[in-house]
Symmetry: C2
Subunit: 526 residues, 2 copies
């Protein structure tokens, strides 16, 4: 394919992409194809001869589009959003064209340097404390990772090494000796990584990858599933009694189930109580909800990271219009990564890296090579401007408030399980509606149970009804939602915060949920 | 940016990309900007208001292009190539548009299913044994990873868990119990990962990440730096004496320094000698040279992987025209990954994944989310056809032969250090040229030393001269090459296998090297 052929092909692809986006609201959000749909449509072996672009693009239409889940659909209310915007696509085009594995500065200086600049831009945009800027005196800084799971694995492994290597050095052992290696090996098996039960599974997976123990800490509905200082202290004391050594904790800024926000100030206060606890690496996982920090009214939360927090990550590829992958990881001290992840062989040595003047991001992450992901972030930030990004985030939060307000208005049918937050509402269908037609419920709209408790109680009948409603809705495919289980309660999660979200879709989704709940409850009654 | 604005912007970007590619041969291969060049050119803070695309694209010209290293330049002869082609860029455009985090099948079935299909296509194209096909009875299969370093880290961690968990189970312990966890923790510190000294640093880094010991095995110039069966046996016996447990080995199919190919058949024969050695996970790292398998004449090498090899990876993003990232990882038994990397919480459960009918690639890798990378591979394979890809790979190998022939023709000036392979020539400048003008050297063109040895000997003067030549060439910037140190010998690496490589550039590079060597040697003489 030469330049002219590429121009023709790319123009056709761009028209196709625009028409794909224009048609998203009319598409079914979940595809209807069965598992294994694709293989019979594609030749069993690769072609011997070149095929023209027109044939390839026709097959994208025929074979690929029917198998897509429409994450940009306004009817996509499952998981968390995964947004993309036109400027982000332009960023990917240039990133592919400027292809470089970028494992060090020299591999393409622009790739490294723009990453440092946009990470500092985003730190400012999110209102993060100055300690996370690349220009900070404490040598903080940010790096773009593929996903929050990479980010968590990276910092957990660095935390493991920081812990055992500091200990071995404190004992007077010398790095590179057999005694040092043995001692480090001896120390690792006592280590325990921590998080609340509400933390994304990537923390448990990171502990598996790091080869350390992992303990989750129970949290409670009455605290909206946020981890408290007292709960953490209880776990730390229990581990002390067991002779285990906590070395790392993930705190949630917007948990996956319910967007819970752990009590950062309480927790860092507890961790400051003992020297051993002060050595614990504190990571904030703000994968989804961190995007809300772009709006000034949420930045008070980020101010709590100024002390006692080692690292922070958020995914622009969830809620901030940059397509997957764009997970931003910030550390307070870059040496916490580079001292433990740097292995530089002869063939990667060069005067620039040796001088310490430049950043080699390969020592800030698990993979050595990396894409030029800073471009799409730069393009999106400039195309929207901070004003545009704030407006967009506030719209998503407001639509969530609209939806949770609707759910509250039908307290006869629904019960809210945790405090709605960041566009997400978690609720269940009541086992027996107060009135199948009425709209009052218990009147106060807080989803409280008749026994006066303001906290949802385990209720197997409600679980069964909620599950049936959930499965019926997804099988019909007009909207796509997810379910979860928290504190033994089966619940539905609805989040509508992607770029095409609008009030009419949120209201329609609510009507579908009401109708389906009434249908199921009527069926249960008959 | 709406659809019409995107069309206009994308057309401008495409024209810019085409003209960028057309001009690459006229560009300096290495940029001249100093470290830190970019920050003063960009505002210290992100803009409040949206900026038009025309301004952003102008800044790509002004700020980004001057900081690019031209990996697509025919004068780029450093590291290994990192190629991109127009069909691959089209793949990235669609991948961004069809954005989905794709952590399970339901997230976008096309994303998972096309990945399985193209991985099977590539297994066939590379002549891999059938055991690596997704349709194999042994439940093999392939997954796209970001880079070889991720692939190696993934399989090493899986190997660690396979080893200790099998052992704990063999001892009658039950998964999920405290005794099981304690035993697994107790076993890990004795584990040792292995590779030759010539293996890419990602193996040492993976051992650091996995938290296990790592030992490298010395190899010799007389074997062209290939690991032999006898050398491996020696190391395994030494580890036995030390009470350590080897659990994993990376074998090179094209080492980073010199494209050495370890002696697979000898090694798997040694590993079959003892039950404990048979349990070692064998991984083949073919990151660069694996692309040569697309040409039938190299496929005899892949047939050696039919027995005794657990996993294999190669990077299409090096030599096969797919832009970074596209690292293909194949395993003989997918359960070796999924049994040890799967952590499935409630919110990721769905009837399709539960049924076992579909692949959830998140359990085949470190990150949970993933991009739709199969598209660009599909586009490239179809646009070139196998014929086109074979022709392109053969051209790169032939150009390497031309270059190594030129080096041999000046045995008065140069000494070849290891057998040239896969387009790569590794050589040094002799400390004192036999004749600064002559072209005969010792006459047999094998770079042999005057003492009759056919293996290069350590020679500090040659090291100094070679280093000076290397540094002068890169500082002048007409071509970009890399250096390395092997068996104590400082050497220059030249590889010319990217898409724009041509004989005239290879000959010009050789002339530059000759001229610079003569200049340095003349200076040393004066």
């Amino acid at each position: 394919m030469d330049g002219d052929q590429f121009r023709t092909a790319a123009h056709a692809a761009i028209d196709d992409i625009i028409s794909y986006f224009d048609n998203i609201p009319n598409q079914r959000v979940l595809p209807t194809i069965p598992p294994g749909y694709l293989r019979p449509q594609i030749p069993a072996s690769p072609p011997q001869d070149p095929e023209p672009w027109s044939q390839i693009q026709a097959d994208v239409d025929a074979n690929i589009k029917p198998g897509l889940t429409q994450w940009q659909s306004p009817n996509f209310m499952a998981f968390f959003p995964a947004t993309v915007s036109y400027p982000s696509i332009l960023g990917e085009m240039y990133s592919a064209a400027f292809n470089a594995p970028a494992f060090n500065w020299l591999c393409s200086p622009a790739c490294t340097e723009l990453e440092t600049v946009v990470m500092d831009w985003m730190a400012q945009a999110l209102g993060l404390p100055d300690c996370f800027l690349s220009t900070s005196a404490n040598r903080g800084g940010g790096v773009i990772q593929m996903s929050a799971s990479d980010a968590v694995a990276t910092v957990m492994i660095a935390a493991r090494e920081r812990h055992v290597q500091r200990q071995a050095k404190a004992e007077g052992l010398k790095e590179g000796t057999a005694e040092y290696e043995d001692r480090v090996m001896e120390l690792r098996p006592r280590l325990v990584a921590l998080s609340s039960t509400q933390t994304h599974s990537s923390t448990a997976k990171a502990a598996l990858l790091a080869g350390t123990r992992y303990r989750s800490i129970d949290v409670r509905l009455e605290n909206d599933m946020a981890l408290t200082g007292a709960e953490l202290r209880g776990k730390l004391e229990e581990l002390e009694r067991q002779g285990l050594t906590p070395y790392y904790i993930t705190l949630c800024f917007g948990s996956t189930n319910s967007c819970a926000v752990d009590r950062f100030a309480e927790i860092t206060a507890v961790l400051s109580e003992k020297p051993a606890w002060r050595a614990i690496w504190v990571h904030i996982d703000a994968a989804y909800a961190g995007s809300a920090l772009i709006a000034d009214e949420w930045q008070y939360l980020a101010r709590e990271f100024a002390e006692g927090v080692d690292s922070f990550n958020m995914n622009m590829h969830k809620w901030l219009l940059v397509n997957f992958d764009a997970s931003l990881l910030y550390v307070r001290n870059r040496h916490d990564l580079t001292d433990f992840l740097d292995i530089t062989p002869a063939y990667l040595r060069n005067p620039f890296s040796e001088s310490g003047q430049v950043i080699d991001y390969r020592n800030w992450s698990i993979p050595l090579g990396r894409r030029f992901r800073a471009l799409k972030i730069w393009f999106v930030m400039r195309s929207y401007g901070l004003k545009g990004l704030k407006e967009y985030i506030r719209k998503g939060i407001a639509l969530g408030d609209t939806f949770s307000g609707l759910v509250r208005s039908r307290a006869d049918l629904f019960e809210i399980i945790t405090k709605p937050a960041f566009g997400l509402t978690v609720f269940r269908v009541k086992a027996a509606a107060s009135s199948l037609r009425g709209a009052n419920g218990d009147g106060d709209g807080d989803g409280a149970l008749p026994n006066g408790s303001t906290v949802a109680q385990v209720d197997e009948k409600a679980d069964a009804v909620t599950k049936e409603v959930y499965e019926l809705i997804n099988s019909r495919g007009e909207i796509f939602i997810t379910s979860t289980v928290m504190s033994g309660i089966y619940a539905i999660r609805v989040v509508s915060a992607n770029e095409r979200a609008e009030e009419k879709y949120v209201r329609r989704a609510f009507d579908i949920i009401v109708d389906t709940a009434e249908e199921v409850l009527r069926g249960a009654k008959n």
